[in-house]
């Protein structure tokens, strides 16, 4: 399904991803954890197609080379990224945005477009899933949303887009206990044999709700350790010290 091999990303002199390898099978949920600044968001953006990095290596989804595609083409290929910092877009109606997004992707895939009326049903179902109040659809995209509301809106979009690969970047940060449960339920209900997920998080707490199949530790731009969910428990107790030291030793940098 997703095959990432020796992925590097740099901006000017700064090497942010330094040779990242990851294999994600269909229907699997992978968690990525790692210290601040280790390159987790950069990895997510590299998959989603943000401009401004120099990228090399491989990122192949269902045989399609993502690195060759524009962001909108990647979305059409089934990539969805939940932003760590969702962007506020004043003046653009949330409902209209969602319908335009869905229909753009459908058009790119050669599907028929969904009418405004039929879309309402799709949107309402997604709204229920993330327990969002109706008013949100009529507001501008993320404009003036609280931190937690923005994160729910990301999951709402995922529910509407029904991606093949979802990359959720710290969708749990800034959520209160109830919102965390709502978002986790949303994610769980979208799990399926045809959909894979990469969940970036700092907190073991989320992984109690979303049981990942694999946990990876990302340090200095590459994955330095992989395991099952018990790895997250280990990190919760011991932090990243072991891995950071190991990696520094490996790359020859002063510890």
């Amino acid at each position: 399904m997703l095959h990432v091999k020796n992925l590097t990303a740099s901006v000017g002199e700064a090497e942010i991803l330094t040779g990242l390898d990851l294999e994600v099978g269909a229907g699997e949920v992978h968690a990525i954890m790692g210290p601040n600044g280790s390159g987790k968001s950069t990895f997510a953006h590299a998959l989603a197609g943000r401009d401004g990095y120099e990228i090399a290596g491989e990122a192949i989804l269902d045989g399609v080379d993502l690195l060759e595609l524009e962001p909108e083409e990647r979305a059409a290929a089934g990539v969805f990224m939940g932003f760590q910092y969702p962007v506020e877009i004043p003046g653009v109606n949330n409902m209209y945005f969602l319908r335009t997004a869905l229909n753009s992707v459908r058009r790119a895939r050669g599907d028929y477009e969904i009418s405004a009326r039929d879309f309402l049903a799709v949107a309402n179902e997604a709204m229920e899933l993330v327990e969002m109040k109706e008013g949100f659809l009529n507001r501008s995209v993320n404009a003036g949303f609280s931190g937690g509301e923005k994160k729910r809106n990301e999951i709402l979009q995922m529910a509407v887009m029904q991606p093949r690969l979802a990359v959720l970047d710290e969708t749990d940060s800034g959520l209160d206990i109830d919102a965390l449960r709502v978002v986790a339920n949303g994610v769980n209900s979208l799990r399926g044999p045809e959909r894979s997920m990469i969940v970036i998080t700092h907190y073991q707490r989320l992984l109690d709700y979303i049981k990942p199949d694999f946990v990876h530790v990302l340090v200095n731009g590459r994955i330095v350790e992989s395991g099952d969910h018990t790895l997250a428990l280990h990190l919760e107790d011991h932090g990243y010290a072991d891995f950071v030291a190991d990696d520094a030793a490996l790359s020859g940098a002063p510890a």
Binding site: E72, A75, A76, F80, I89, P90, G91, V92, A101
Partner: protein, 404 residues
């Protein structure tokens, strides 16, 4: 050349021959195309032999009374003045000769006259007269059409609006055109008596071969309320100058607008709001989108006269620049000669938000469509309280070069 007092049309006609047009040194005319303005020939209004075929489709189909002026001359065929309510008198200015009207035609303003306003008085024999006494629910629509029969021909027209005490109405002014190089010089003169309120929408979409010289003079008595929305979209040089004079205590004026330039258009908004009485509130909120090699000008002034204590004014001007060759000149001006005054202003010039563009594209929305969404989203904030769907559609269809 600036003339302070203007006794009447005869005097204006006498002045016309010796008029000096504004130059680059006149702050309010700094970005005007002086050569093109000098090449225009103004003269008495004359209806064209035939109104061009593409005019009718340009007129927004708003329900209610409609008065159409072509090249400064009333066009009865396109107008719709039957069935106006008793609280409204709307008619062709050329035909209005009664005593009361003659007085209105000679009204003098606190704001200085300029060469083009004198020309307007000299040659603007036609136009619309709108007298409101009571509450008028139907929108009043005045349409000005520019259809030059010879190149450089320029015509003048006047729109005179008199709102009686406590009256209320909505006035839409549409300015459109067809054909050759030419210009129009349209002055709207509005007076609001105590407690009157007027919503005034100006739609300017002349062809880019033409020049639009618009001037709006407003005088407000106590507790009156003037709300205006300018959509300055067309013309090679599209100018609208507002002079709003708050003469009575507790008056309110709410001015906003959108200018949207492409090609090498120059869109010029010159706003002056004068607080001449205590406890008045005004706001100016303008947005510009400038593409290609277009230029946008927003020169917004607030003048707080002695004694206008308790003045509250806010000004904002936000611009979205879509091309490296486009240009914005934003100039807030403040002169405060009173006490306990609150005047705020802010101006921004920005480009399309790259993060927002990426966010939209990451959801599958193509580059061009994503840009359009962001641009319209920016422009839409001026339309937020515009509830007439006909107007909204008319404007939306004209945003950006795609409408051609």
């Amino acid at each position: 050349m600036i003339v302070d007092v203007l006794p009447g049309r005869t005097a204006a006609l006498e002045q016309v021959s010796s008029l000096e047009l504004p130059t680059k040194r006149d702050e309010a005319w700094r970005y005007a195309p002086h050569k093109a303005l000098g090449a225009l020939t103004f003269g008495p209004a004359a209806a064209p032999a035939a109104v061009p075929a593409d005019v009718d489709a340009q007129i927004p189909e708003i329900e209610g009374p409609r008065l159409v002026i072509v090249n400064g001359v009333f066009d009865p065929e396109r107008s719709r003045l039957d069935a106006t309510p008793s609280s409204l008198r709307v008619e062709s200015l050329a035909e209005a000769t009664d005593e009361a009207v003659v007085g209105l035609l000679q009204r003098e303003y606190d704001a200085a006259e300029d060469a083009f306003s004198i020309i307007n008085r000299a040659y603007g024999t036609g136009g619309a007269l709108v007298l409101v006494d009571g509450r008028v629910d139907k929108t009043i629509h005045v349409v000005n059409v520019v259809a030059p029969e010879v190149p450089q021909a320029a015509t003048a027209a006047r729109v005179i609006v008199e709102m009686a005490e406590g009256s209320a109405a909505t006035l839409v002014e549409t300015r459109i055109g067809s054909g050759d190089v030419g210009a129009c010089n349209i002055r709207t003169e509005i007076s609001l008596a105590a407690g009157a309120s007027l919503e005034h929408i100006v739609l300017q979409d002349l062809p880019t071969t033409q020049i639009h010289l618009g001037r709006v003079d407003v005088v407000q008595a106590a507790d009156s309320c003037y709300q205006t929305r300018l959509f300055n979209l067309g013309a090679d040089y599209g100018r609208v100058a507002y002079h709003v004079h708050l003469a009575g205590e507790g008056a309110e004026a709410d001015l906003s607008g959108l200018y949207f330039g492409f090609g090498d258009q120059t869109l010029d908004q010159q706003i002056t709001v004068v607080h001449a009485a205590a406890n008045c509130r005004t706001s100016q909120s303008y947005r510009g989108v400038l593409d290609d090699e277009s230029t946008g000008i927003w020169n917004g002034g607030v003048d707080v006269r002695p004694g206008a204590d308790g003045t509250d004014s806010v000004q904002s001007n936000d611009n979205l620049v879509l091309s490296r060759r486009a240009e914005v000149n934003t100039m807030p001006r403040l002169e405060i000669l009173a006490d306990e005054v609150s005047c705020q202003h802010g101006a921004t010039v920005g480009e399309l938000d790259e993060e927002a563009l990426y966010y939209l594209r990451s959801r599958g929305i193509g580059q061009a469509e994503a840009r359009r969404l962001l641009i319209n989203g920016f422009a839409d904030q001026v339309m937020d309280d515009l509830h007439d769907d006909v107007l909204r559609t008319w404007i939306a269809e004209r945003l950006g070069p795609d409408h051609a």
